[in-house]
């Protein structure tokens, strides 16, 4: 896989003195879905805004498709589409005119067939003659996506695409993103909804206080940081947990019918086999076992908590 975006020691200090990015380096592969995960104020929007040309960096470089965003900005920006965090549309404009306008602004000639295909794929074709102010929030977001894709970019930035939308709309957005990805568009999305990153991304970058804490394929991240929780259902309720079992961290539910056990998938020996053996020895009959992976929220919390508080100089 080749990198379509190369970010090298990117920094931004705003006029107000806020250091929003501190030397972030990152390579984004062509065709992947990368989720940038981080709390509010982490610097996600700043990073995207620099790549797209809305914010001037104070240090570092970015290349998009090999083109430097400062010196070769026309070529770099032709490859990029941006869906901003805040919905901004001209209220009295028709949907289809909005999309045509953006395509023209990006310097591309008219292509009605492509615009029809685009609007259909985003379920906006029936609304093409509606004024944007008549649309629901989810539709407005899709109009922004259609605009961002109107010039056929290779990279799409989605800044918090599902912030403040309900579950149904969020799922709809995810399916749109998957379809785009299937078409070969590289997608960078930011989110603080952790299940979103978990469900969508190929790779996840965790960003906090202007620093990229890590970037990992999702599976690897889950594996490395994932604690698993083992649940053991019993046939007969236990009134008390045998001392030797309690010592190993096993817990008993109130009704005495379920045992719980947390273990680390990174450990050489998880101890599950011995645990089950011990249960048999104590004459405890096991009915069922289940394991559950901890979600990104827990992973994220542990990462951010591990990071020592740095002097905010």
């Amino acid at each position: 896989m080749s990198a379509i975006i190369e970010i090298d020691h990117l920094s931004k200090r705003y006029g107000s003195g806020t250091a929003a990015l501190n030397g972030v380096s990152l390579k984004i592969n062509e065709g992947e879905i990368l989720a940038l995960l981080g709390p509010n104020g982490a610097g996600k929007t700043t990073m995207i805004s620099i790549i797209c040309g809305l914010v001037t960096p104070t240090g570092g470089t970015v290349r998009v498709g090999g083109h430097d965003i400062r010196t070769d900005w026309r070529a770099a920006r032709k490859l990029i589409g941006l869906v901003p965090q805040e919905i901004a549309l001209e209220p009295f404009e028709k949907v289809i005119d909005c999309v045509r306008f953006t395509r023209g602004l990006y310097g591309a000639g008219p292509d009605e067939a492509y615009i029809e295909k685009l609007l259909r794929s985003l379920a906006l074709w029936d609304k093409r003659d509606a004024r944007t102010r008549e649309l629901s929030g989810g539709m407005k977001r899709r109009v922004l996506i259609a605009k961002a894709l109107s010039h056929r970019p290779k990279v799409l930035f989605l800044d918090e695409p599902t912030a403040g939308v309900d579950v149904a709309l969020r799922r709809e957005m995810w399916s749109v993103v998957r379809d785009l990805s299937a078409d070969g568009v590289t997608i960078i999305l930011t989110t603080h909804y952790l299940e979103e990153a978990e469900d969508m991304a190929d790779r996840i970058g965790v960003i906090n206080r202007g620093e990229l804490l890590l970037v990992k394929p999702k599976a690897e991240l889950m594996g490395e940081f994932g604690k698993k929780h083992l649940t053991i259902d019993l046939y007969e309720p236990l009134s008390e947990l045998p001392h030797s079992l309690a010592e190993r961290g096993l817990t008993l539910s109130k009704d005495g019918l379920t045992l719980g056990y947390d273990y680390d998938t990174r450990a050489d020996r998880t101890g599950i086999a011995r645990l089950l053996g011990d249960l048999t020895q104590h004459g405890i009959a096991v009915r069922d076992v289940a394991t559950k992976q901890s979600n990104l929220e827990e992973i994220f919390m542990s990462l951010v908590a591990d990071k020592p508080e740095e002097a905010t100089a």
Binding site: Y14, G53, L54, T56, R77, A88, L89, D97, L105, G107
Partner: protein, 253 residues
């Protein structure tokens, strides 16, 4: 230079104008008719003529200029301020489009609207009093150049403005006084020598004078000076806009 970009911005701006074509035309035409009635008919009845031109006809170029200046500035400043206000400005900044394309689109549209409205006023004035145009080609040239120069100025005002109040204060406090003091309704030669000298410091006087020359062959200053004034203004404004876009002043963080 990408003409698709210029055309997209131009069409987008003109579409807004044509969506509200009647409001866009009604207000300038109405105020011009009022000027004709008050200055042309009421006062003109006493002044008779200025340098051989009936007063009602004499004020036509000045009125057209007043409208062109006001319309150019307000169209262009509103045109670029509105996306700043609604947040859609981000598109202009992330597009692979240079300042020159964006400026040509906005300014071209603002100037076109202003010229259109000025032409409607000219037609109205034909109906009030038969105006004779000595140099029609020069008249159109001055009209376009002035519209472009002041649309550029309006574009700068729109880029600079941070609120609707700021957007309106410059046209009100600067443009309108300059037009009135620039000889829209009188000839500078009617002023005492000292004030004639002061009036000639006003750049708008050169524009109105050149424009009036195109109508009546009468000018307060040499026509060449008028051309230089408008060309100078275009160059200075273009340079300022280029600087704004390249440095990102009030556009980029």
């Amino acid at each position: 230079m990408n003409w698709h970009s210029v055309r997209a911005v131009y069409h987008h701006e003109m579409a807004r104008f044509f969506r509200t074509i009647w409001q866009s035309l009604a207000s300038p035409v109405l105020s011009t008719v009022l000027y004709f009635v008050v200055f042309g008919a009421a006062i003109g009845g006493r002044i008779q003529s200025v340098e051989g031109v009936a007063y009602g006809a004499f004020i036509v170029p000045g009125l057209m200029m007043l409208t062109v200046l006001q319309q150019s500035v307000s169209n262009a400043s509103f045109g670029i301020y509105f996306p700043k206000f609604s947040g859609t400005i981000y598109e202009y900044l992330v597009a692979p489009t240079g300042w020159i394309e964006v400026t040509l689109g906005f300014v071209g549209a603002a100037a076109s609207k202003a010229v259109l409205i000025a032409m409607v006023i000219l037609l109205t004035s034909f109906w009030f009093n038969g105006v004779h145009i000595a140099h029609p080609v020069w008249m159109m040239a001055f009209l376009f150049l002035t519209a472009i120069a002041f649309s550029l100025l309006g574009f700068i005002i729109g880029l600079w403005a941070k609120s609707f109040e700021q957007l309106q204060i410059v046209p009100m406090m600067v443009i309108t006084p300059l037009v009135f003091l620039g000889g829209a309704f009188y000839s500078a030669s009617m002023l005492p020598p000292f004030w004639e000298g002061v009036a000639k410091l006003n750049p708008v006087l050169y524009l109105i004078s050149g424009f009036r020359w195109a109508f009546f062959d009468l000018a307060d200053v040499p026509v060449g000076m008028s051309l230089v004034a408008v060309a100078l203004m275009i160059v200075v404004c273009m340079a300022a806009i280029r600087w704004i876009f390249l440095t990102g002043w009030r556009l980029r963080e």
